[in-house]
């Protein structure tokens, strides 16, 4: 399993080399968006309006951070469960999104979209929100402020620690539960 240091915006060259199990330290700007923000992004797309950020080469982080206490750029900021964004991810991949960051399983449709558009799904450690916030050096709300924790933020990350869960070659890191030994 290899280790990479990558910077957004990501390109096909960046993502094609990645294999499930690789460790990636991500740098640059990533965008936070979870349930409510995805809904709003799709309303913009459907009405032909411009999105608050450029999807080309983007990495979307499924996160709703806790409020920033004084002296810190952000509060705790670990991943939320990704399947709730499965209905949105394929279209975003088709429009240029390169990576999503979350925790938990993705649907077959999302995996197919990653294959087709050379995308990648990164896992961050769920429930390690305090630790992960150390790799976020700046955070600015850029859209949907009214959504509070669910607003879209531009986050500047420094060596954000990620694992490749699904690569664009069909590889997956999550293990299949051994039902035969358990029962």
């Amino acid at each position: 399993m290899a280790e990479y240091t990558l910077t957004t915006p990501l390109t096909d060259v960046d993502t094609i080399q990645l294999k499930a199990g690789d460790v990636v330290f991500l740098n640059g700007i990533i965008y936070s968006a979870r349930d409510a923000a995805h809904k709003k992004l799709f309303e913009l797309l459907d009405s032909g309006k411009e999105l608050p950020f450029d999807l080309e080469g983007s990495a979307i982080y499924y996160v709703g951070p806790s409020p920033a206490p004084p002296g810190r750029p952000i509060g705790s900021a670990g991943p939320t469960t990704s399947y709730r964004m499965d209905s949105f991810a394929p279209r975003l991949h088709s429009l240029g999104m390169k990576a999503s960051i979350g925790k938990g399983k993705r649907s077959d449709e999302v995996k197919a979209a990653m294959k087709e558009f050379k995308g990648v799904y990164f896992g961050a450690t769920g429930g390690a929100g305090a630790l992960l916030s150390n790799s976020i050096v700046e955070s600015t709300v850029i859209a949907f402020d009214e959504l509070g924790p669910e607003a879209v933020r531009a986050m500047k990350v420094k060596d954000f620690p990620l694992l490749v869960i699904n690569d664009c070659h069909g590889g997956e890191l999550y293990v299949k539960p051994k039902l035969d030994t358990a029962e």
Partner: protein, 279 residues
């Protein structure tokens, strides 16, 4: 009649909200350390190492352990010989939640189910009251995260399905949930009662100390049997494989109707935050 001021309740609840969200309880820490010693896979060890480092950092910085500071769930035991004065007990608990979640920079995650508009202050809390003998007010608090809660289920089994049916359902639920609820998880199981009561039993079982043993040896043996079966699934920390899929299994059982076998599986993540105070 012992009098308890609502102001004292509010203060205590506010403090509990902050403490529970920023300090990983010792029982959970011990279990994570034990798991780290037993795991042989490097990815499992690395996840557990990060979780312990996260707990240290949260303690030091007062950042919440997890950005999901949960929906505030309380089990409150009200002694027969106390009188709450100066206001309403439920309102005092909600006021404590407002205060704690604001002052602790905790994420407010309560929203309207349909419009999804955030209530803005972390309330209303889910409060379960119980009347008990004595002159104490015991408040147990758990910030319940959405990721693990979403993996929970209630089912009405046929009585003939018995223990085997229960075991199968629990194993399949945990297998199906896979990496989603932030394993290693704690599985709270409510058996019996009615449809809604089984869920409450399951939730309440999660308030137990992770390192305790059930007082009934027969149930304790079933908890162990299930724990072993679930760990044999090999899902491991964060679903990356390993020996530790669950940190514990807790069963809470009560009699039920002749025709029913209600079963509730409440999934809780490794961020098994809980606090209690007695006034």
């Amino acid at each position: 009649m012992k009098e308890i001021q609502v102001m004292d309740v509010m203060e205590a609840v506010g403090k509990m909200c902050i403490k529970a969200n920023t300090e990983l309880p010792q029982d959970v820490r011990n279990k994570l350390e034990q798991a780290m010693a037993e795991e042989t896979s490097s990815s499992a060890k690395e996840v557990l190492r990060q979780l312990l480092e996260n707990a240290d950092l949260a303690m030091e910085t007062k950042l919440p352990l997890c950005q999901d500071c949960g929906l505030a769930v309380f089990f409150v035991e009200v002694g027969d010989d106390i009188k709450v004065v100066g206001g309403n007990l439920r309102e005092a608990i909600n006021e404590g939640v407002r205060k704690g979640y604001a002052e602790g920079y905790l994420r407010k995650s309560a929203c309207d189910p349909l419009t999804r508009v955030n209530t803005g202050d972390g309330t209303p809390a889910v409060v379960h009251f119980d009347l008990v003998p004595g002159d104490k007010l015991k408040i147990v608090f758990m910030p319940k995260g959405g990721g693990a809660e979403n993996m929970s289920r209630v089912t009405m089994l046929a009585p003939a399905q018995g223990w085997e049916g229960i075991k199968n359902f629990v194993i399949n639920r945990v297998a199906e949930a896979g990496p989603n609820p932030c394993p290693p998880t704690v599985i709270g199981i409510g058996i019996g009662g009615t449809f809604e009561h089984s869920a409450k039993l399951a939730k309440k079982s999660l308030m137990r100390n992770l390192e305790d043993t059930h007082s009934d040896p027969e149930i304790a043996a079933r908890e162990k049997e299930l724990e072993e079966a679930l760990n044999a699934l090999g899902i491991g920390p964060m679903g990356l494989g390993g020996k530790t899929t669950v940190l514990g299994v807790k069963i809470n059982m009560e009699p039920c109707h002749l025709a029913s076998l209600p079963l509730a599986v409440n999934v809780q993540c490794h961020s098994q935050r809980h606090e209690e105070v007695v006034l």
